[in-house]
């Protein structure tokens, strides 16, 4: 007797179909599991056998073979338990084969028959629509994730017993046992989008730093903040996700998928509506940052997808870890190659870095800073040049004394800043329609003349700026890109002199380090 049951396996944040083929034939009683399986999949044998017995099903004394096809791809994780159990029952004719057609099963099984949550439900269900699957049965713990996807019926099962009664039932009776769960993603999204996030109005003073953050967020530029400890660098960084435009539904599904694959969606959390903010400690290892281990898991940079990756104490990071950011910053995704294949995770994040200006933190205030020039150079030199090359804006913060903290007028709210940014992003969307770019921050030097063209007067000004400020060609282009964003924020058609001036004020610190 033979049966096949559908399931899916993760490949990065996408998935591929897997069919579980079960055959029961006469012979010495054995159960063998094949199909390039990892340790935890092989252990499914023990879990499923015990769970089935505890659910009241006894395996026949015969030769049972279970194959997970495609057999040449490595299978990992515990989500195959449920399809194997269902496949066994179908092969034993305990459930009608018709009932498992066009149905995808996912879930881990406990010894008592409980169905436990697994990671990656959202991406698998999302892909399953394209495989012609009509319904998905997933663990009850993950049903809300799957329910976001339209065009497919998703049911959540809490135990094998419950599932089998459903599969054995006829017509409407089953509906009541395991109802289809459906969530209106749009509506949910609207509801959750108003959640409270840290607000810029809580930051007193630091006007230039806040303005720098606004420009960076508007044009998707990477930002570096330099300042002594306690000046408010982290405070500002934490508030940047709040001024980025709200996530679109599509973006939100991408973010949720990454979290789902990483198994980081909290219980009951269905859809990520806030832009992620990841702040790895500077001792972070390379695989933890970019993703990796034998089973490539998404790293911090993928968890920061569509959000902000904040690197505090930039010079303290391992050089190898920082250098590994180059590809994801360039291509907006990361390819992780392992023996069992290459996975690709998205990593379209905004990089925000913070550092002290020198080991003591007070340079260039020479009355307080006693660091020697070589010490300062060595400290700055720890930051890898290629990373600095990808930072368009640099702001410096000073310590704010208590008196001015009290007197400072309250800053603008994140909501108002966000409005300006949304408008600036809209202009950029128009500008880059049909090109490979999305934001001003992406524009490459070769296309600078098309997208960041200057008028005659402005060009003269820029030449003067280039000469008198001793700019490098690279800095010249960065100023143009940032000036374009400033002009967009001001909703100006053309880049004007004042935009160029402001952009040069925020030009990256590397220029001073050379």
């Amino acid at each position: 007797m033979y049966s096949t049951v559908m399931t899916g396996a993760l490949q990065g944040v996408s998935a591929y179909p897997v069919s579980v083929e079960v055959d029961v034939s006469p012979g010495l009683p054995t159960l063998s599991l094949v199909g390039s399986l990892s340790q935890e999949v092989r252990e499914a044998k023990e879990r499923v056998c015990v769970a089935l017995r505890n659910a009241g099903f006894h395996l026949p004394a015969g030769r049972i073979t279970v194959n997970l096809s495609p057999a040449n791809r490595r299978k990992e994780g515990t989500a195959f338990d449920l399809p194997i159990a269902v496949g066994l029952l179908a092969a034993m004719d305990r459930i009608p084969g018709k009932r498992v057609e066009n149905t995808l099963f996912l879930g881990e099984v406990g010894l008592d028959g409980e169905i436990k949550g697994v990671s990656g439900v959202l991406p698998i269900v999302r892909e399953a629509v394209a495989w012609g699957v009509e319904q998905c049965i997933v663990p009850a713990a993950n049903v809300l994730e799957g329910a976001l996807i339209s065009g497919i019926a998703v049911r959540g099962a809490a135990s094998l017993q419950e599932l089998f009664s459903f599969l054995l039932s006829e017509g409407g009776e089953g509906e009541a046992l395991l109802p289809v769960v459906r969530l209106d993603a749009e509506k949910l999204f609207q509801e959750k989008a108003v959640e409270k996030v840290p607000d810029f109005s809580e930051v007193n003073g630091q006007e230039t730093a806040k303005r720098g953050a606004e420009i960076a967020a508007a044009g998707f530029h990477n930002l570096l903040m330099v300042g002594p400890p306690g000046a408010g660098k982290s405070m500002i960084a934490k508030r940047i996700p709040g001024i980025l435009p709200p996530l679109t539904l599509e973006e939100s599904l991408e973010v949720t998928s990454v979290f789902s694959v990483a198994g980081l969606l909290r219980e009951g959390e269905t859809l990520a509506t806030k832009r992620p903010f990841q702040s790895p400690h500077h001792s972070v290892s390379l695989p933890a940052l970019v993703g990796g281990s034998t089973i490539p898991k998404p790293g911090m940079i993928s968890l920061a997808h569509r959000g902000v990756l904040f690197l505090d104490e930039l010079p303290e990071f391992q050089r190898a870890a920082l250098d590994s950011l180059r590809q994801p910053l360039e291509e907006r995704e990361i390819h992780i190659a392992r023996v069992n294949g290459t996975v690709t995770y998205p990593s379209n994040f905004m990089l925000v870095c913070a550092m002290n200006p020198c080991p003591c933190g007070f340079y260039p205030d020479r009355n307080r800073c006693r660091c020697t020039e070589p010490q300062i150079r060595r400290y700055m030199g720890k930051v890898s040049g290629p990373i600095l090359d990808r930072i368009d804006l640099c702001v410096e913060l000073q310590t704010v004394d208590i008196a001015s903290l009290k007197n400072c007028n309250k800053g603008e709210s994140s909501g108002r800043i966000r409005e300006r940014i949304v408008r600036a992003r809209k202009i950029q969307k128009e500008r880059f329609r049909g090109t490979k770019y999305q934001f001003n921050g992406d524009v490459e030097a070769a296309d600078m003349e098309i997208f960041c063209a200057l008028g005659e007067k402005e060009q003269q000004y820029m030449d003067q700026l280039y000469r008198n400020l001793n700019l490098s060609a690279r800095a010249y282009h960065r100023i143009l890109k940032v000036a374009r964003t400033i002009a967009d924020l001001a909703e100006a058609e053309q880049i004007m002199v004042e935009h160029l001036l402001e952009a040069s004020f925020y030009r990256p610190a590397q220029e001073y380090w050379q």
Partner: protein, 326 residues
């Protein structure tokens, strides 16, 4: 040239005359580069290693001025004031003597390698320690007596209280040399040592020309005292030459103010307030705005400051710090 190491003792003609008269004169000197002539004027320029931008500016200008006027700059080749003034003198076509606290085959600090090589070509390197001697902390105060000994006068540019520079000054006074001090502001820790010296009665160095004049007088006095009648002609020639250069310098420098760069253009009236709020010392944009009579936003100030930078009236020292230029 400059590759060979020579050893000279007081019994040889090449041994610097000035060192013969100081207490505890070195019994021998290792030399690389050109042997300095005993004639001519030399000035020791010394100061802090971690100097401020102000100190750097003064050291550059003084070094270059001395270099142009054929005055030898003597110093310890250290980081900061020492190295900067020596480099400026060499760049201006002058000559310089570096006195090391290690063997003459060792470049210390290693960061001054370029200066070291230039000294080998265009100046002199002295040390009383045999080649191969590593830089030891205890050697440096001792070599300072040679720095001051080789000079006719000592100029202190920036020194903290208890600075090593003050040891050199003590030795210079012991050797009877004139000490000139560049004044600083009372709020600057880097000028504390200088201001203390001024309080104790050191000469205040206001302009490089003044220094040159003083040097001239010193020279005359020594000649009178030493009764170098035979060499009087030489001395006179030297004096005339020196004076000629001074007057020439005066003319080209548009009425004194050697410290300041030539005025390029006027500051536009709308930026005047901001310009006057700037200082030689880097200040943050916040600090600058706080000094303004009128209230402008920081972002506005930032734009105007960049404008001043383009006009070469200000310098952006680091992302949020600016200082003024004349």
């Amino acid at each position: 040239m400059g590759e060979e190491i020579r050893f000279i003792t007081p019994f040889e003609k090449e041994y610097p005359d000035r060192l013969r008269n100081i207490p505890d004169a070195p019994s021998g000197l290792y030399v690389r580069g050109k042997l300095p002539v005993n004639k001519g004027v030399s000035v020791a320029v010394i100061g802090a290693r971690d100097c401020s931008d102000y100190g750097k500016y003064v050291a550059e200008h003084l070094g270059a001025f001395l270099g142009r006027n054929r005055v030898t700059v003597v110093s310890g080749m250290a980081r900061g004031i020492d190295g900067i003034s020596q480099w400026a003198a060499l760049e201006a076509g002058g000559t310089s003597i570096g006195v090391l606290g290690c063997g003459v085959d060792i470049c210390y600090p290693a960061g001054n390698r370029v200066l070291f090589n230039r000294l080998l070509e265009q100046g002199t390197i002295f040390s009383e320690y045999p080649p191969g001697t590593p830089p030891r902390a205890m050697n440096f105060p001792v070599r300072n007596r040679i720095v001051s000994g080789l000079a006719d006068a000592v100029v202190v540019i920036e020194a903290r209280n208890k600075s090593g520079t003050l040891i050199t000054v003590d030795m210079a006074l012991e050797q009877g040399k004139e000490v000139f001090v560049v004044p600083g502001r009372v709020t600057d820790r880097l000028s504390d040592g200088c201001n203390k010296l001024i309080k104790q009665g050191a000469e205040i160095l206001v302009s490089p020309e003044e220094l040159l004049e003083e040097l001239q007088k010193l020279k005359e006095r020594t000649e009178e005292r030493g009764g170098l009648r035979g060499k009087a002609g030489d001395g006179k020639a030297q004096e005339r030459k020196l004076q000629g250069q001074v007057s020439q310098e005066r003319k080209s420098d548009t009425e004194s103010d050697t410290w300041l760069e030539e005025q390029s253009s006027e500051v536009p009236p709308e930026l005047c307030d901001l310009y006057h709020a700037l200082d030689f010392y880097p200040q943050s944009v916040e600090q600058i705005v706080a000094r303004l009579p009128s209230d402008i936003s920081l972002s506005q100030a930032a734009i105007q400051l960049i404008q001043l930078c383009i006009d070469k009236k200000a310098v952006q020292v680091s992302p949020g710090y600016f200082k003024g230029m004349q």
